[in-house]
C-alpha cells in the first residue's frame, strides 16, 4: 500500500515535470537560438541544445536592421494610453453603478452585462470602416480609441466598489466630501487590488493585441510588436535570420513575463475571475 502511494507520487511528479518541460521548452529554445550566431545556427543541421559562444549580435540586429525599438515604443505608448483611458472611463462608470441612485440604473447595468456576450468579431468590421472613413488609420487615436472599452472590467470594478460599506460614503457625505473626491480618496484606494488587477489584465491584453492593430496600421511607423514581429518574419532581415528573429521574440516577451512574475497572484486571481484571452 505504501509502495503504491510512493509510486503514484513519483508518477505524478514525473508527468507534471514533463508538462512543465513542454511549456518551458519553447522559451528555452527562443532564448538559446537568440544567442546563437547566424553562422553557427545555419550550420547546425542537427540543432544543438546549448551554445558555448553566446552572442548579443542578434539583439543588436533586431534593433538596428529592423525597427524593433520603434515597435516596442509604439506598443508602450499604446498600452499605457489605452490602460489609462480605460481606468479613467471605467472607474466613474463602476462608481455610478455601485454607489449612485438613478433612474434606469438596473436597465443600463443589464444592458452593460449583455454587451459582455458580444464577440469582438461583430464590432470590428464597422469599427474598421468608421476609423478608415475618419482618416484615423495609421494613428494612435485610431489604434487606441476602439480598444479602450471592455465591459468586463467595469463589472469587475463595480463588484469591488459595491463591497465598500455604504457608511463610508455617508460619512464622507456628512463631511461634505464631493463624490469625485470620495471616489479618488476613498473608493479607489480601498479597492486598489482590483484596480491594479484590472490595469494588469488590460496591459496584457494591449501588449498582445494583434487583430485590431493589424487591420488599422499598414505604415510601419505605427506597428505594434505583434504586427511588427509578423512583418519581421515575412519581410524582415532580408534573409531567414532566425536567431535575430528569436532575439526580437525575446524582447517582446520579456516585459510581460517580468510583469507576471512580479504580480503573479494578482494576475492569476484576476484571470480566474473571468479573464479570457482575446
Amino acid at each position: 500500500m505504501k509502495n503504491r502511494r510512493l509510486i503514484s507520487r513519483i508518477l505524478i511528479y514525473a508527468l507534471l515535470s514533463l508538462w512543465a518541460i513542454v511549456v518551458l521548452f519553447p522559451f528555452y529554445w527562443m532564448l538559446l537560438t537568440s544567442v546563437k550566431s547566424y553562422a553557427s545556427y545555419n550550420t547546425e543541421f542537427i540543432p544543438k541544445f546549448f551554445t558555448l559562444s553566446p552572442t548579443i549580435q542578434n539583439y543588436k540586429d533586431a534593433f538596428s536592421a529592423v525597427p524593433l525599438g520603434d515597435y516596442f515604443i509604439n506598443t508602450v505608448i499604446f498600452t499605457v494610453l489605452t490602460t489609462a483611458l480605460l481606468l479613467a472611463v471605467a472607474i466613474p462608470a463602476a462608481f455610478a453603478f455601485a454607489r449612485m441612485n438613478f433612474r434606469g440604473k438596473n436597465i443600463v447595468f443589464t444592458a452593460f452585462l449583455s454587451l459582455m456576450m458580444i464577440p469582438s468579431e461583430l464590432t470590428v468590421i464597422t469599427n474598421f470602416v468608421t476609423v478608415t472613413e475618419l482618416g484615423m488609420r495609421n494613428s494612435f487615436s485610431g489604434l487606441i480609441l476602439p480598444s479602450v472599452m471592455s465591459v468586463f472590467y467595469i463589472y469587475l470594478l463595480k463588484e469591488s466598489f459595491s463591497g465598500v460599506p455604504e457608511e463610508l460614503y455617508l460619512a464622507a457625505k456628512v463631511d461634505g466630501t464631493s463624490d469625485f473626491r470620495y471616489m479618488f480618496k476613498v473608493m479607489v484606494p480601498i479597492c486598489r487590488p482590483t484596480v491594479i488587477t484590472v490595469a494588469i489584465l488590460k496591459i496584457i491584453e494591449c501588449w498582445n493585441a494583434y487583430v485590431w492593430p493589424r487591420l488599422i496600421t499598414d505604415n510601419a511607423a505605427y506597428f505594434l510588436v505583434s504586427v511588427g514581429i509578423q512583418e519581421i518574419r515575412e519581410n524582415g532581415f532580408g534573409r531567414e535570420n532566425i536567431p535575430a528573429m528569436m532575439a526580437a521574440v525575446v524582447v517582446i516577451c520579456v516585459p510581460l513575463i517580468l510583469l507576471f512574475l512580479l504580480f503573479r497572484d494578482k494576475i492569476m486571481a484576476g484571470v480566474a475571475r473571468g479573464g479570457m484571452k482575446g
Partner: protein
Amino acid sequence: MKITLSDITKAFPVRGKKGADVVAVRDFDFTFPDGTLVGLLGPSGCGKSTLLNMICGLLAPTEGHIFFGDSDVTKLPPEARGVGFVFQNYALYPHLTVLQNILFPLQNLKGADKLSKEEMHSRAEEIARLVQIDGFMDRKPGELSGGQQQRVAIARALVKKPRVLLLDEPLSNLDARLRLKTREEIRRIQKETGITTVFVTHDQEEAMSISDTIVVMKDGALLQSGKPQEVYQKPQNLFVSKFLGTPPINVFDGKIKEGKLFIGDAAVLDTPDLENRDVYVAVRPEDFDLCPSGAFVCPVHRIEVMGRDTSIVFSHESADAPVLRALIRTEDIPNTGATVHFSLRRERIHLFDKATEERL
C-alpha cells in the same frame, strides 16, 4: 444650538407598489434643548435612525421642517448644517491613518472656511487629546481596538467643530465592559464640549444612564420624552413602562370596580378617584412591598440571589408573563411557603387604560 423638529414625516416608497409607502417617521414634533445629551430610544425599526439621518441631512423629510437654532435647515445638505455624525460601525476609512481620518473632513473645507495645513494639524491634535487617542495617530483603524476606533470616529465627527453631534448606536459594537467605559467617555466629551448631542440606541439602560433627556419612540411616533428618571417613574403608556427597566416591569390584567382595584378576584388597592373600567396594572420589580397581611397573593416558584439582588420569582394567573419577579432586600427573604403576600401602594404602581394603553 437647539434642534427643533416640526411635524416631521418620512415615507419610503415601496418598490413596485405605487402609493403603498412605508411610513418610517410620523408627525414628529420635538425640540432638543441646547447643550444637552439626548438619547433617542426605541425598539429596532421604530424610525429612530431615520430620524437621526434626517437631522443630519442624509435623508430629506417627506413633510415638516427642521430648525437648528432659528434657521430652517430642512433643505440644506449635511455639510452645510454643521453636524458631526458617528456611525454604528464607525465608518473609518481603512486605508488612512488615524490622523488622516481626522483630517479628512477639514480637507473638504473650501473658500473662506479653508484652513492652513498647520491649523488643520493643530485642530486634529487638539481633538485627539480630547478623546484621548493622541498616542496612536499614525496607526490604521484596523490596528485599533473597538473602543479606540469609536474615539477616532468621535474625533473625526468633532474636528469640524460641528454645532450638533449625532451618534447612531455608538456602543452596540463594543463588548459589555467597554460599553460601560465608553458611555462615560461620551458623557465626558459632551460635557467638555457642551455640544448638543443626539444619540440613537435600542438599549434603555444605555440611554437612561447618560442622557439628560430621553425620547422614546415606537412605530415612527414619539411616545414620551423627559428626564430619564421622570420617564421611568411616570411612563405615559404601557409600551414605555415595559420598554424601560430591567428586570422588566410586571403587568397584570386588572379591573376597577366601585373604587377598588381588582387583580383576579382579589381587591388589592383602594382607588376611589377612578371610574369603573378594565385596566393594566404595571408594577416594577422593586415596587412590591412584602407584607404578611397583603391582599395580593401569588404562588412562589423560587428565591433567586444574584449578587446584591435578591428576587422572588412568582407567577400570577392575570399576569402577561408566565414568570414574574419582585426585587426585595436580602434580610426580608420570606419563609419559603407556597405563596407570597404583597401589598401595593398607589404611588408605586402604574395603571393604564386597557383600550388605549394610556396612563390613567
